[in-house]
């Protein structure tokens, strides 16, 4: 009887206490901070996992995530269910225009000695942003003899797998200029396929941005896109993540955040980069690799 006491007519219920425990777990492991309004959304999304694991309650589910040997794959499941993956090509186009017109020329100058351009899309979801960046880099014509690498990472295995497929439905092109769609995608029965020359510039991996060691695998980057990811993070996770971005960027490298995100009250290690249509953050040219200042 006890085992199923929290099972309602539609399955297990997420009590306020269990929600608090679950929320803290997500914050600790993934940096994601759910607000109180997320309780019923979490209950709805994770209920199937409680049932699938044959657990009696969300409290048991918390214990499972915290202690079970099989918790790693379950975290993948939970992440997939609880994170928002909806995105599309050329999202926040005003920022991308600034990136193409102002940031890329600056990066071409900055990296011309090493002839290598490295851009990281942190929290790339299903890959639209990564391919968008690669298209912009190629259209710019400034990196034709460069070794260009656009790396997309996401915590969700499912998203990374989708990104690697590189096949998208028409809805993903709501903001894509027609000529771009024509030049960089091939329509097939299962959707629009990213053309090979763009795919060859891109690579994907699974990564928790709070995992400092794993983040080091990315190497040094000329630009980092992390758009609409930090809004889900608590203050501490946000700061840790920004510090790691700072460490990964070359001096002069640029950090681009979502339109509702800023580094206000997070760090002063970056300098503001005033673009014509947007604001971005730049690691000062004189900064050493790991230096940070508050």
């Amino acid at each position: 009887v006890t085992r199923f006491s929290s099972l309602g007519r539609d399955g297990p219920r997420l009590s306020p206490d269990d929600f608090a425990a679950l929320r803290d777990l997500f914050t600790e492991r993934l940096g994601i901070a759910f607000g109180a309004e997320s309780r019923f959304a979490l209950e709805r999304r994770l209920r199937e996992r409680v049932v699938a694991l044959n657990l009696g309650s969300f409290a048991e589910y918390c214990d499972f995530l915290r202690h079970a040997r099989a918790a790693d794959p379950e975290w993948d499941e939970a992440v997939d269910l609880c994170t928002t993956n909806e995105t599309y090509f050329f999202r926040e186009d005003y920022q991308l225009r600034s990136f193409a017109a102002e940031v890329l020329p600056a990066l071409a100058l900055l990296s011309k000695g090493r002839k290598r351009l490295s851009i990281w899309s942190a929290g790339c979801s299903t890959g639209e942003e990564v391919f968008t960046i690669a298209i912009l880099v190629q259209r710019s014509g400034q990196f034709d003899d460069f070794d260009v690498r656009v790396f997309g990472s996401d915590i969700s295995k499912r998203c990374v797998a989708a990104a690697r497929r590189g096949v998208y439905p028409p809805a993903a092109f709501r903001a894509t200029p027609p000529d771009v769609k024509r030049d960089f995608f091939v329509e097939k029965p299962d959707g629009f396929h990213v053309v090979e020359r763009i795919r060859a510039m891109c690579q994907f991996g699974q990564m928790n941005l709070l995992d400092a060691e794993r983040v080091r695998l990315v190497g040094r980057a000329d630009a980092i896109f992390c758009r609409n990811v930090l809004i889900y993070f608590g203050p501490q996770a946000r700061k840790q993540t920004i510090d790691r971005f700072h460490e990964r960027l070359y001096p002069g490298g640029v950090l681009l955040l979502g339109h509702s995100e800023s580094l206000l009250n997070v760090t002063t290690a970056f300098e503001l980069l005033h673009l014509k249509e947007d604001l971005a953050y730049r690691k000062p040219l004189g900064a050493s690799r790991g230096s940070r200042s508050e």
Partner: protein
């Protein structure tokens, strides 16, 4: 008498044998004037268990010099055989300290005693004891000489010079008049794996008593006369001699199969002898004697009767003798190809796959029938046969076989897929032009990514942008196998661009891709600093195989920082396989 000694003395005379055994056990560590006498008393006990216990306690009894002297004096004992034998056992257990006193006593001992002394020296192998044993080969007593010869069979443990000295002495003994000494010397020379010239062996090969034991010596001689004698001995009227001759001939074939002169001598001796051939065939059927059977199968390769090929093919399916059967078939040369091709279609799977593997080796000119048979075997229902056909096609196929074998790289059977990949690489290495032509039609994001990665492993060039673009696109493929092979090929091509791409592959969610990327980075010989920057991030990877390889790679750097990282990981690592590697690098047994 001291307290402990008195107690042991008291217990050694009670009726209960178990009490006496425990008393003998108590001699270990006893350091008293009475210790030698008590040890001898225990060694003379009527119960063998007490004697055994005392002999094993001897090395730990105090007053070593007196103890050894007492034990050596026991070798003079004529009546109590139990004591004498136990004294030998105790002296051997004591080891080096017993050698000189035993050698010194030899002059004063009677023949039985000297034989026991020789047994002690044979049990404590060292330069001094080997030298003494060599001298004992000239003892007046035949039993002492035989014991010395047998003892010298262990001289290898005393080091190279002692072994050489022992061989010289034993060879001299072979020239003596005493057959039993010669027998002992032959056994010893066999144990020493001595190679003797044919001139030394020749008299032994026809000796009625010794020839059976001489066969192995003949095999090591490596001279035509010895090989001919071996081949002749296959027809010896004695079944035992014939068996030893076949076994020795098999060893010779295995070791000298590429020596045309020796194989010619063996062949020319065997072929004219119907008796020898029938003997070989009979042994080739002896399933109860795999050693002789394997040797006979190899020897059939010298006889080269086409009727014997099916027997060899059948034996390919028997793990115990398959290697020797393969050796025999190789000696047949091209004349075995036809029967092998027949077997590749009709024999059971193990023999089919072996036939398909061997046939191309016997037909180096690229026999069209062989290649066609290999192609046909690609569709064999057995993965073992299909894998063997792919491997053989890789070696013997033509450019046209590239697309044929490429179809199998995505096989659901890992063995077939791997063999196909290796075959693609082998064919592409020999047919670079057609491989390049094939590349132009491949789509790195589609089903061709794996094939392309294999082709580029053979013909890729890191300076060609299209090669790198292909591999980098394959590194973003949805199929983990494509990503794995792309990482491996990038590792083979090397270069900064490849290293960057492969480093990012370390974030792949699939274990096999991460492992391939790690191996690729290691293969590229990245600087220690680079590896130290990325590998620690994998020490807590969810897959223990990745953690183990990370520990291995990091440990090789041997930097203090790396060792400290490994030490920290060892404190929390749950997987024994990983702990073993971590423990090895940080220098603990954990």
């Amino acid at each position: 008498m001291s307290g402990p000694a008195a107690a042991i003395a008291q217990q050694l005379v009670v009726d209960d044998a178990e009490t006496r055994r425990l008393a003998a056990k108590g001699l270990a560590g006893l350091d008293a004037n009475e210790a030698p006498g008590l040890l001898l008393k225990a060694l003379a006990d009527t119960d063998w268990r007490v004697r055994k216990e005392a002999a094993s306690a001897a090395p730990r009894v105090g007053r070593r010099v007196e103890v050894v002297a007492a034990l050596v004096s026991a070798l003079h004992e004529r009546d109590d055989i139990g004591l004498r034998n136990a004294a030998v056992e105790a002296l051997v257990a004591i080891g080096d300290d017993a050698v000189e006193p035993t050698i010194a006593a030899l002059r004063a001992l009677d023949a039985d005693g000297r034989k026991l002394g020789v047994e002690v020296l044979a049990g404590v192998v060292g330069a001094r004891s080997v030298a003494a044993l060599c001298l004992a080969l000239d003892d007046d007593d035949a039993n002492v000489r035989v014991a010395a010869a047998e003892g010298l069979g262990r001289a290898t443990d005393a080091g190279g010079p002692s072994r050489d000295a022992a061989i010289r002495a034993l060879v001299t003994a072979l020239g003596g008049a005493d057959d039993y000494v010669k027998l002992g010397a032959l056994d010893a020379l066999n144990r020493l794996e001595a190679s003797l010239p044919w001139s030394v062996c020749e008299p032994l090969a026809s000796h009625p008593l010794l020839r059976r034991h001489a066969m192995a010596i003949l095999a090591r001689s490596g001279e035509p006369g010895a090989v001919a004698a071996l081949a002749r001995s296959v027809a010896d009227p004695s079944a035992t001699v014939a068996r030893e001759a076949v076994v020795a001939l098999g060893d010779t074939i295995e070791q000298k199969s590429d020596d045309a002169e020796l194989m010619g001598v063996a062949r020319d001796t065997l072929r004219p002898s119907q008796v020898a051939q029938e003997r070989v065939r009979a042994f080739a059927h002896r399933e109860d004697d795999p050693k002789a059977r394997g040797a006979a199968l190899a020897a059939l390769g010298l006889v080269q009767d086409p009727d014997d090929v099916p027997l060899l093919v059948e034996a390919l399916g028997d793990d115990e003798v398959a290697e020797r059967a393969e050796l025999g078939l190789q000696l047949y040369g091209e004349s075995a190809v036809g029967p092998l091709l027949d077997a590749s279609r009709t024999a059971p799977p193990p023999a089919r796959s072996a036939s398909i593997s061997i046939a191309p080796m016997l037909s180096p000119g690229g026999d069209r029938d062989v290649v066609e048979a290999l192609r046909a075997a690609l569709t064999d229902g057995s993965p073992d046969v299909a894998s063997a056909a792919l491997s053989s096609l890789g070696r013997a196929g033509e450019a046209a076989d590239l697309p044929r074998v490429a179809r199998f790289v995505k096989s659901s059977d890992a063995r077939v897929a791997h063999a196909a990949g290796e075959a693609v690489v082998a064919l592409a290495e020999r047919h670079a032009g057609p491989a390049r032509g094939m590349m132009t039609a491949l789509d790195p994001s589609g089903d061709d990514a794996i094939v392309g990665s294999y082709l580029l492993r053979a013909v890729g060039d890191r300076g060609r942008s299209e090669d790198m673009a292909f591999l980098r696109a394959a590194l973003a493929h949805g199929d983990a196998r494509a990503r794995r092979e792309a990482a491996t090929t990038l590792g083979a091509l090397g270069g900064d661009s490849a290293a960057n791409a492969v480093t990012l592959a370390l974030t792949d969610e699939e274990r096999d891709v991460v492992l391939a990327a790690m191996r690729a980075l290691a293969r590229m010989g990245l600087e220690e600093e680079t590896l130290a920057g990325v590998i620690p991030g994998l020490l807590d990877h969810e897959a223990w195989e990745v953690r183990r390889l990370a520990a291995e790679l990091l440990g090789r750097s041997s930097s203090p920082e790396a060792i400290e990282r490994l030490r920290a990981r060892l404190r929390v690592e749950p997987e024994p396989m990983v702990r073993a590697v971590l423990g090895a690098w940080v220098g603990t047994d954990e």
